[in-house]
């Protein structure tokens, strides 16, 4: 036990177990309470910090909830048109091959309007990291059905539940990407528990290393909650995600490199 008088001695920067990385700005996040984006931003920023990559990083933000990512992560960022982030990142990486280039995209952006750009960037094996945040819904526009919305799941454009006969089936983009010759490391993670946060962070760190080695496309899906879109509390949403989303989108590596 530490004496109260000794507390001030202990609260020194060098003794703190946790502090905010300088790569995260002090701007107030625009994300809803309980949303996974804040956590994902943090671990991505931490990796950039820990790997000393700030001066070499160029990110691409999508159209969607994370469109304003450039307000929160203190690196050079380009905001891409809806779905086009992999094409934008392709050119950035080709023209500046020694930079760390990543895209950060939601499921509407990556798996609906940007399907062609995603598949072709991965198929060319563009040496970039694609972070794919899949919450099964269009968050920013107010909870419409996404390509990843589960069968029977209600949304503002599937108010009676997704009927796969008329609305199609949920698209497992990560599974598709894993089959492509150009993809190098493909994994599906989450950030809803501390253990999962650590696993996701580890996956991002691996992707950074693979990009340095010019290995091809690294693709990390993060199955995430959307408390506002799902109309649940953050705790309920995480429970629902475990029970309903994970069986459809099981966590784990889909393609592991043999080094």
């Amino acid at each position: 036990m530490v004496e109260a008088s000794g507390i001030k001695e202990i609260i020194k920067p060098e003794n703190l177990a946790y502090r905010k990385t300088q790569i995260l700005t002090d701007n107030t996040l625009s994300y809803c309470p309980g949303c996974a984006h804040g956590t994902i931003h943090r671990i991505l920023a931490e990796i950039i910090d820990e790997e000393g990559l700030q001066s070499q990083t160029i990110g691409v933000s999508p159209v969607g909830c994370s469109v304003l990512m450039y307000n929160y992560i203190d690196v050079d960022i380009q905001q891409a048109a809806h779905g086009r982030a992999p094409a934008v990142a392709t050119a950035i990486k080709r023209l500046l091959p020694d930079r760390f280039v990543f895209t950060y995209q939601g499921d509407g952006d990556l798996a609906a309007i940007g399907t062609a750009e995603t598949i072709h960037a991965c198929n060319r094996g563009e040496n970039i990291l694609i972070i794919f945040v899949n919450n099964g819904i269009y968050g920013m526009t107010g909870g419409q059905m996404a390509p990843t919305t589960l069968p029977g799941m209600k949304s503002s454009t599937s108010p009676y539940g997704r009927d796969v006969k008329t609305m199609g089936n949920p698209l497992k983009m990560t599974d598709i990407v894993a089959t492509l010759e150009g993809s190098y490391y493909v994994t599906r993670q989450s950030v809803h528990t501390p253990a999962n946060v650590r696993k996701t962070k580890k996956a991002i760190r691996k992707a950074v290393q693979y990009q340095k080695l010019d290995r091809g496309t690294c693709f990390i899906e993060i199955v995430a909650n959307c408390p506002s879109g799902w109309k649940m509390t953050p705790v309920q949403s995480n429970k629902w995600m475990e029970e309903t989303m994970f069986p459809y989108y099981p966590l784990g590596d889909l393609k592991t490199p043999v080094e």
């Binding site: 990083t57 960022i77 048109a81 094409a87 023209l95 750009e117």
Partner: protein, 356 residues
């Protein structure tokens, strides 16, 4: 260094000029009648000489967004396509204009609408000059009328694009893209080693992070930004108008035509003068900015103007605005991929303007 003389197609000239201009990246997708641009670049393989990146994208949409990404890094990047493909690029072009990125877009126009035809036309004038994509923006539009200009406008285009942080379009057509002429090529320029201070190249400790975006959710800020864009376009209108005149000094009648139509009209002027009709030709080289003031001045000298364009009459609207009712202005043009003949132009000048 001396310029090199070659016999080339317009499409090949653009491609060779792009390499020589020190272009950093070209991103394209095949479409007739401009596929030679991508083919030429792939065969020339400049990645081995200048380090220029040449990439065949999965679509025109991807190609223009690659241009966005490369331009956002401060690189000299370009794409080319023909009408239907340029339509697909419009979203990206609007984002590029909104993010104020410099780039070069080549449109080797074919007849439309829809899949239309692969033959030359000038029916993309409105799309190129008035906007094309969403929002209040303008491209700087250069209209070559020869293979030489196809080559020359690459360098001029990049210069203007970087000067104004604005996308530039070379509005050509299938005839100029496909025809062969002699062309003097500039010596090889080195690719630029410096980046503009706004480019995303990796945040250095000496500066704030650079953000490339066209988004501003605050309406007041978005209006201020739009006013800034409009001021830029006004400056471009003031400083960058280019045109060429042919036998206008004593002209009683005037032809206004650009690109292939201007080449045809040059012959029409000679034919008409052989018949004793004093006619001149004004050829706009920039379509935006349009040579409004010069046409307005010429309208005080001539009795009537025939606006000649391979379209249903698009540029004629800008000629009418320039003339402002001073003299009759009438459009003549063929459509669907048919190139007007010099004789047809003279006939229409006589019939529609002179009146006999």
């Amino acid at each position: 260094m001396e310029k090199e003389l070659r016999l080339m197609k317009g499409n090949e000239a653009v491609a060779e000029a792009a390499i020589r201009a020190g272009t950093d990246g070209y991103f394209g997708y095949p479409i007739t009648p401009q596929s030679e641009i991508l083919e030429y670049l792939m065969e020339a393989n400049p990645s081995q000489t200048t380090g220029m990146v040449v990439l065949q994208a999965e679509s025109e949409v991807a190609a223009i967004n690659m241009v966005y990404g490369g331009a956002g890094c401060g690189k000299r990047v370009m794409t080319s396509s023909s009408s239907p493909g340029i339509s697909l690029k419009q979203e990206g072009i609007s984002y590029i204009a909104g993010a104020e990125l410099p780039c070069l877009i080549v449109n080797v126009v074919r007849g439309g609408p829809g899949l239309g035809t692969i033959q030359p036309a000038q029916s993309d004038y409105f799309q190129s000059v008035k906007g094309g994509g969403h929002g209040d923006y303008h491209l700087i539009v250069l209209a070559p009328s020869s293979v030489q200009e196809m080559a020359d406008f690459v360098d001029i285009g990049f210069e203007l694009a970087f000067k104004y942080r604005n996308p530039v379009m070379i509005l050509s057509d299938g005839a100029i893209g496909q025809m062969m002429e002699k062309v003097y090529l500039s010596p090889q320029k080195e690719r630029s080693k410096v980046s503009p201070d706004w480019a995303t190249t990796g945040k250095q400790s000496t500066r704030e992070r650079n953000i490339i975006t066209s988004l501003d959710l605050d309406s007041n800020c978005q209006e201020v930004f739009n006013l800034k864009l409009q001021a830029k376009y006004d400056e471009i209108k003031e400083k960058e108008v280019r045109f060429e005149e042919f036998l206008c000094e004593d002209a009683e009648y005037l032809l206004v035509a650009y690109g292939t139509s201007a080449r045809v009209c040059q012959k029409s002027v000679q034919l008409a003068r052989e018949q004793g009709i004093k006619v001149g030709l004004l050829r706009p080289i920039t379509l935006f900015p349009f040579p409004t003031k010069r046409i307005n001045m010429l309208a005080q000298q001539v009795k009537g103007i025939l606006s000649v364009e391979m379209s249903a009459g698009q540029m004629v609207e800008d000629v009418l605005l320039a003339v402002n009712g001073k003299v009759p202005v009438i459009h003549f043009g063929r459509m669907g991929g048919i190139v007007t003949t010099p004789e047809e132009v003279v006939e229409n000048l006589k019939f529609k303007i002179i009146g006999d």
